[in-house]
């Protein structure tokens, strides 16, 4: 997100990948396990306008620190040393602009291998670089995504080229979009002053929790006890928490109050945004005794308003 804010990105919906991409690179992503349908629906075997033969019409490259189960789907696997994504991508940018690095290899990869990859990118009808948590959750964080977007923009001078993050976590794109149209910012929003303020590194949840700033937490459809760093998650155990979730999770187990709610897309209809920002309408297929997730929130807001009025009256 921060990388996108710094420079933008060349992107498209996944149907463009299905219809046109003849070069697909997965970097720090293991779709065989993290996005098992991605390959067949969009990026691998999918047949499209310019890819009538599906898999045979695409050259697939996997770049990762180890040969994951996705490697067997790829035409080429490039193994890099952990934590060297930025260096390798920077050398690719050099090579793209016609400069040669002062080394035979970088991050454990032969420069010649990278030269071949860069020229494939330049010659592609449509090249796509999908990147995953191996890029976003490793040292350097948004700097890694930034260098990928920069590479993508530079490749756009030569070929149709897209850079797309492999977003996960169900409807995280929808929550980012909604935050953005309501506050102007996709995450790390602080309403403390009565209006939205944005400062990642200060108002992002991990930073707030590490500083032990929150004295209560309302957690909706998130699993911080599983996903956050230990130090941050630990603070949640020491403050009152209300958790809205359809399932039992590590977070519900430690919550002060748990409000079970319907699962959007299973027991109540709803809208979820796909990783390429296309909203999908979801239907209810099972019944559930729990309320929709906005109902308890509306009631909490209502009660807070009442309490505020009572307080004002006293």
């Amino acid at each position: 997100m921060v990388a996108l804010q710094l420079g933008g990105a060349p992107a498209a919906t996944l149907g463009e990948v299905k219809n046109r991409a003849d070069l697909v690179i997965f970097w720090g992503s293991n779709p065989a396990e993290s996005h098992p349908r991605h390959f067949t629906r969009y990026s691998g075997a999918a047949k499209g306008r310019m890819n009538p033969k599906g898999r045979k019409d695409r050259y697939i490259v996997l770049v990762d620190i180890r040969p994951t189960p996705s490697a067997k789907y790829a035409d080429e696997f490039i193994q890099i040393k952990p934590g060297h994504d930025f260096e390798v991508l920077t050398v690719m940018r050099m090579l793209a602009s016609g400069k040669l690095p002062d080394a035979r290899s970088v991050g454990g990869v032969e420069v010649q291998t990278l030269e071949r990859l860069v020229s494939r990118c330049k010659d592609a009808r449509m090249g796509v670089l999908f990147f995953g948590q191996g890029i976003t959750e490793t040292r350097g964080k948004h700097q890694n995504s930034l260098v990928i977007y920069q590479f993508g923009k530079e490749m756009s001078l030569y070929s149709k080229f897209l850079t797309l993050p492999m977003r996960g976590h169900y409807n995280v794109v929808g929550s980012g979009n909604t935050m953005c149209w309501q506050t102007g910012y996709p995450f790390a929003v602080n309403f403390g002053r009565g209006y939205p303020q944005f400062n990642p590194g200060e108002f992002s949840v991990v930073d707030l929790l590490k500083r032990k700033e929150p004295d209560a937490a309302l957690i909706v459809a998130a699993e911080p006890m599983d996903h956050l760093p230990y130090e941050a998650a630990r603070h949640l155990e020491n403050i009152p928490t209300i958790v809205l979730d359809p399932r039992e999770t590590l977070t519900t187990r430690m919550a002060t109050v748990v409000i079970p709610v319907k699962h959007a897309g299973i027991s109540v209809e709803g809208t979820a945004y796909r990783m390429d920002h296309i909203p999908i309408k979801m239907r209810a297929v099972l019944d559930s005794p729990w309320p929709k997730d906005d109902e308890p929130l509306e009631r909490i807001i209502q009660r807070v308003k009442e309490l505020r009025k009572e307080k004002a009256a006293v």
Binding site: L4, G8, G15, R49, G184, P196, F198
Partner: protein
């Protein structure tokens, strides 16, 4: 209970009323003949009373607007609204403001109806989710069809009646109000890393041309009886000699109704030392000579903004030119989009010519009913600059002061310096509400006749027109006071206007399903946007013709 607005000077161009002192009555959301004895009285002494403003073209919702918000956190840093200031919902401002802020700001200028003109069909669900969060105004979307591969396939085979069916279906599937074309064929060519430079250029993968695309869609729209005609952003926009393409496109229409949007961006020539000139006088002449054509201007005003357009190749060009941030978002089978921040500088020769070209269009088009006030928000400038623009049109001394401040080299060349016309309040009422509502086919808007929607703006008369139009004394939406002295006093939600063509799509149902199966990544059954996404829908009828 009703409301009476007394002692104001009514300006209602749809009924030829120019500063007529009479009482406006409203009740149950409509203008009525008599609001009854118990009506609340608003004393509008010293004010003019107009229908609520109607913006025919403003990018306020949908995927690319949200990317513009996302990509520029710096744009939101210095302006906000909050409960402390009396607003129900907080939000941030900037050129790509948040949804609530957008609704409040429009209302505070006296606008009550706005149109988001460029939604790719696949983004319609997203756009409607945002519209549901824009308060204070009625709203509608135009669906982008000028790069639709489904239409291209039918065009290549000459199957025009299937195009009618497809457009009938897609209007319903997107809950849209009309059709917009952006750079016909160009966004499709951009998927092949190419662009269109001539209206008779063949696309690389489909046997058709921009001329054929535009004519086929315009004819289909007429057949379906859509209330607003084709809304067109021409090929070659934003570059020298773009005016030639605009003229060629207009001629290609052969008298069919056409709305040319943000024509200012298509009004450049290649003469002069810098090979960049304003050809606005030629385009104004073309509009004067062709009664089938209406335009909105897309005025440029100086300052930082964010450009947002479905014209993907143009944004890449702008990115290379400026080195600014660049987001590109091609949409499968349908269209594209780009977002690039831009800073219009007074000192820049090119920007000064652009500024002047817009004003020249306003001042040289004789019939105010065929030119509408827009800045192509936020492409030329954010919509909050409208009051400033109105003053530039109404006050020639003010305009002259501003001409003196632009690039001297540009000031020496522009036709603007010889133009003395000043818009009257009556003409402003036409270009900001009456004309736009009429062209949109909104019979209940833009006027104050009995039966109209009770959307009213009351402006206190002042020689400083900028101040006057920035802070209306009262704004009423559906017969309720919602803003006073340029400040929202009550949060309300308007309706979403949409059409439902009668034609149906029986003949293409199977083919459409096959197309989706082959080329889309969304199931056709999950594609249409249902009415559940429009919290307050209002169906606007089509005028169907039988000669298909």
């Amino acid at each position: 209970m009703g409301i009476r607005i007394e002692n104001g000077e009514v300006i209602d161009p749809a009924h030829g009323e120019n500063r007529v002192r009479r009482t406006i009555h409203m009740k149950d959301g409509r203008i009525v003949a008599d609001a009854g004895l118990d009506a609340t009285v608003i004393d509008a002494t010293g004010c003019v009373v107009m229908a609520g403003g109607v913006d025919i073209h403003t990018h306020v919702a949908g995927p690319k607007v949200n990317f513009a918000r996302l990509m520029r956190p710096e744009d939101h840093r210095y302006e906000h609204v909050s409960r402390e200031d009396g607003y129900e919902r907080s939000g941030t401002g900037g050129v790509a403001a948040t949804t609530y802020t957008t609704g409040y700001r429009y209302c505070e200028m006296g606008y009550t109806t706005i149109v988001e003109p460029a939604v790719p069909p696949l983004g319609a669900r997203h756009a409607h989710e945002e519209l549901a969060d824009i308060p204070q105004v009625d709203k509608a979307i135009f669906t982008l069809l000028g790069n639709s591969e489904i239409i291209f396939q039918y065009l290549a085979k000459g199957e025009m009646s299937k195009i009618n069916e497809y457009i009938s279906w897609i209007m319903d599937a997107t809950k849209a109000y009309s059709v917009k074309i952006v750079n016909p064929g160009g966004a499709n060519m951009w998927k092949y890393r190419a662009d269109i430079h001539d209206i008779d250029q063949k696309l690389c993968d489909f046997d058709t041309t921009p001329r054929q695309i535009v004519l086929a869609i315009a004819d289909a729209m007429a057949t379906l009886g859509l209330p607003h005609p084709l809304h067109l952003h021409c090929n070659n926009l934003g570059v020298p000699d773009s005016y030639k393409t605009a003229i060629a496109t207009a001629e290609a229409m052969e008298g069919r109704p056409l709305h040319l949007t943000h024509l200012q961006f298509s009004s450049y020539g290649a003469s002069g030392k810098r090979k960049f000139s304003s050809e606005a006088p030629r385009l104004a002449q073309m509009v004067n000579d062709n009664r089938n054509i209406t335009i909105d201007v897309g005025q440029v005003l100086f300052g930082k903004t964010t450009t947002i357009t479905a014209d993907g190749p143009f944004e890449f060009h702008l990115h290379k030119l400026t080195g600014s941030k660049w987001y590109n978002g091609d949409v499968e089978c349908e269209d594209g989009c780009g977002v690039v921040p831009y800073d219009y500088k007074r000192t820049s020769f090119v920007n000064s010519i652009q500024w002047a070209a817009g004003l020249e269009l306003f001042l040289l088009i004789d019939d105010p009913w065929r030119v509408y006030l827009t800045t192509d928000h936020p492409n030329g400038a954010p919509f909050i600059t409208y009051p400033h623009l109105i003053r530039l049109l109404m006050d020639k001394d003010f305009r002259r002061e501003h001409v003196e401040r632009i690039s001297a080299e540009a000031a020496a060349e522009i036709p603007l310096k010889t133009l003395d016309r000043e818009y009257t309040l009556y003409e402003i009422a036409i270009i900001t509400r009456a004309g736009a509502a009429k062209r949109l086919g909104l019979v209940n808007k833009g006027h104050l006749g009995v039966g109209a929607d009770a959307d009213v703006a009351v402006y206190r008369i002042s020689p400083d027109y900028e101040e006057m139009f920035a802070k209306p004394a009262w704004v009423l939406k559906d017969g309720e006071v919602v803003a006073k002295e340029g400040k929202v006093t009550r949060q309300v939600f308007g309706r979403t206007l949409y059409v439902h063509p009668e034609r149906g799509f029986a003949d293409i149902k199977g083919e459409l399903a096959d197309f989706f199966e082959s080329y889309y990544t969304v199931n056709i059954n999950n594609y249409p946007v249902g009415l559940e996404y429009l919290p307050r829908p209002e169906l606007i009828p089509c005028q169907v013709k039988q000669n298909d």
